[in-house]
Each structure stands twice: as C-alpha cells, then as structure tokens.
C-alpha cells in the first residue's frame, strides 16, 4: 500500500529549498510528521539543514497545525513553514 501525499513549503523554506510544492509517494516506514522530516532531511544539505531538528519548523496537515507525532495518511496535504509572523 502506498501513500501519495502533497507537500507544501512556505517562506524561508520555500526559498532555501527552491521548492514550493511536490507530490510524494511515501515509503511505508514514513507514517508521521517526524518520520517525514527525517525522510526529507536525507535529500541533501539544504534539506538536512532545515529538517535536522535544529530549526524551528511548524507543520500543518490539511490546514491544521500539528506536532511531530501527527499521523500522515494517503491523500493528506502536509505543509512545512517557519514560525508565523503576520499581524
């Protein structure tokens, strides 16, 4: 069984990765946000710098803020971004 998800990047992440959105066919051992971050960190230096856990990165699943333990399921829209600075 594969999980196809959509991943979005915003603000500093979008710039550093030069990526704003992508579809990812998740490996079976990637089931939550922490595991997805570790998976992305393996893609190279820019990715490792952002997803190695040292930077404060927020995650949302289907438009709701979530923490590292949140489960990811097929069809989800997952977003990564820095702490927000609106208002």
């Amino acid at each position: 069984m594969t999980s196809l998800i959509k991943v979005l990047y915003f603000a500093r992440l979008k710039e550093n990765l030069n990526y704003s959105t992508e579809d990812i066919d998740l490996p079976t051992d990637v089931a939550n946000v922490a595991q997805l971050k570790a998976y992305l960190a393996q893609r190279g230096e820019a990715w490792a710098n952002l997803f190695n856990g040292k930077q404060s990165i927020r995650a949302a699943i289907n438009h709701a803020l979530v923490d590292n333990n949140a489960q990811i399921k097929d069809g989800d829209e997952v977003a990564f971004f820095p702490p927000v600075t609106g208002g």
Partner: protein
C-alpha cells in the same frame, strides 16, 4: 463573522460602521489596526512582502473567531488581513469585535490578535538597506498567547 485575506487596502471606518449598525444590542466595538512601521530590529524598512498559505489562512482566522466566541459574548467579529507588497504606513490587519459591553469586546479583540500573531500562516519579508530578510517570530508573541 467574516474573515478576508486580500491584497487591497481596507476602510476601517466603513467596517466599524457596518458592524456596529447591524444590531442595536451592540454597545461596544473594540478595534485593532496594525500598520507597517519604518523601523524593525533597529533597521530602516522600505518595503514588506506578506506571504501566506491560501486555504489554511482563512480556516485559521475563522477558528480564531470561533474560539473567541466560545469564551466571550461576541455579537459579531471581523478579521481583514492584507498580503503582498506593503510600505511603511500601509495598513496590514484589522480586527473588530462587537459586543454588548466593552470588557468582552476588548478581551476578545486582544485575544484574536494574540492568536493571529502565533497561529495564522502569514510570513513577512522586509526590505532593509542591507537587503531583504525574513522577519523572525518573537518569543513575546508566544508569551502573549499563553496568557489566555
């Protein structure tokens, strides 16, 4: 209860009048207008670009209004937030709360601003003489939210 995310400027006075005139049980309207300052972290700011997460932004602002309604007697509320390019003295955000009494209106309005600052997916990039930079989130905003 309305939220709007828009590039265009807003008319705070017209929004206040629309909100307050809708119900003669409204005795108090608390309002907040945020505007772009020409100085941040000691540096001159000539321009600001506001990015957001379309879809999530609107839901997040609606959820903030819903939370305020659960805690205070809010007769009506409005959030307008601008995105795109802004300059010093431009308006960024408008939060209005209408209630029968001022205490509820003030509390709900400040609550909504504190939550907007820490939960709504907006990001500011500012132009300074040294180049452009992403604005860093403030720990004071996290602390402001924890009060509630």
């Amino acid at each position: 209860m309305t939220v709007r995310v828009q590039i265009e400027d807003f008319d705070a006075g017209a929004e206040i009048n629309m909100l307050r005139r809708s119900d003669a049980n409204i005795g108090a309207v608390a309002a907040f207008v945020g505007q772009v300052r020409d100085l941040n972290e000691g540096d001159q700011v000539s321009e600001l670009v506001l990015e957001h997460y379309p879809g999530m932004t609107e839901k997040s602002l609606q959820a903030i209004i819903e939370q305020a309604k659960e805690r205070w007697e809010v007769i009506d509320a409005l959030i307008v937030h601008r995105v795109g390019k802004l300059k010093p003295l431009d308006q960024i955000v408008l939060v209005l709360v209408a209630s029968s009494h001022r205490k509820e209106a003030f509390a709900a309005c400040e609550f909504m601003m504190d939550y907007l600052k820490t939960e709504a997916p907006f990001w500011k990039k500012e132009q300074t003489p040294a180049g452009s930079r992403w604005v860093e989130a403030k720990t004071s905003d996290d602390e402001a939210k924890k009060r509630w």
